[in-house]
Amino acid sequence: MTADERLARKAYELNIDYPKNLRALVSVRRVDNILFTSGSGCGTFRQGLIGSDLTFEDGYLACQHIAMIQLGMIKEYLGDLDKVDQILRVYGHLAVADDFHDLDKVADGLTDVMGAVFGDRGRAPRTILGSRNLPVGNTAAELELILSVKD
């Protein structure tokens, strides 16, 4: 625990409001040697439904974009991507048209980046859900990770 965290806990016990305006979210939470990341969308990079407003290519690129964002978050948290042991699980939602069913191939956009960076240790079990609405004016995808880190 950092000094800042100890201060925050002490303030909590004493009912002092510190830090002020505490945001509910953190990008990454660690438990022992497992990291849970917050979901990342691709923002305005690609918006709309894959299969109608957007092409399959757009969806794939959106997932690649998200892979970069997630790796950036992980690198900032760990300091060094070589500390990553392996990606354990990918979960996410894709904004898709009713008759577009190739969700796994779109999600490959993220898996292919993880594979390029970490090899087989980057390719992970995946669970992907199709939705008609996602945050930020219907960003094309939002994905989150569970990963392990080296001791």
């Binding site: 497992i34 042991d85 392996q86 990606i87 354990l88 699980r89 979960y91 898709v96 048209a97 009713d98 577009f100 069913h101 190739d102 969700l103 796994d104 191939k105 999600a107 490959d108 898996t111 292919d112 594979g115 087989d120 390719r123 992970a124 079990p125 995946r126 669970t127 992907i128 859900l129 199709g130 939705s131 008609r132 569970i146 392990s148």
Partner: protein, 158 residues
């Protein structure tokens, strides 16, 4: 014969392991092991031929009962992957957490009853240890337009 396989027999199933019959969703990663945790990828209700045996949505192509059967098939598929990953189903300590995604139309909202098809297979085979925390979500679409996908996080015996 393992305890789990004796129970499988009682419900009329034999599991011989995946042997690459079950297609994986891209990246070819059906499971991952870390320490004593087994992560299983989201699985579709594949048939013997490696193609989805059910295609369509609850509330449109499929009734609740049919969705339940599709979910059972997902459970059976998962057992083959677990056996492949661990060598022996008795190496399962207990199920921790499952995501059950149900492909819905026309406001179909009996998601737990559909997802129970998956959970019932696990409790039939593993008893109390097959019980799990679960989150059911209604999808507007799923890969291959299947009616249900389930994944799992499982604890392995040391």
């Amino acid at each position: 014969m393992s305890v789990a396989e004796r129970r499988l027999e009682r419900i009329g199933l034999t599991i011989v392991g995946d042997d690459n019959k079950i297609p994986s969703g891209g990246g070819n990663c059906k499971y991952k092991i870390h320490d004593d945790l087994l992560f299983i990828t989201g699985l579709e209700p594949y048939g013997e031929d490696g193609k989805p045996a059910f295609v369509g949505r609850l509330g449109r192509e499929y009734t609740l009962e049919e969705g339940y059967q599709a979910a059972r098939l997902v459970g059976i598929n998962m057992l083959t992957i677990i056996k492949d990953a661990l060598g022996d189903l008795d190496r399962v300590d207990y199920f921790i957490k499952v995501m059950a995604l149900v492909n819905t139309a026309n406001g179909f909202s009996d998601l737990p009853e559909v997802a129970n098809g998956f959970t019932d297979v696990m409790t039939e085979v593993f008893g109390e240890r097959g019980m799990h925390a679960r989150t059911d979500l209604g999808a507007t679409n799923l890969n291959n337009n299947v009616p249900i996908i389930c994944d799992a996080i499982i604890k392995i015996k040391q």
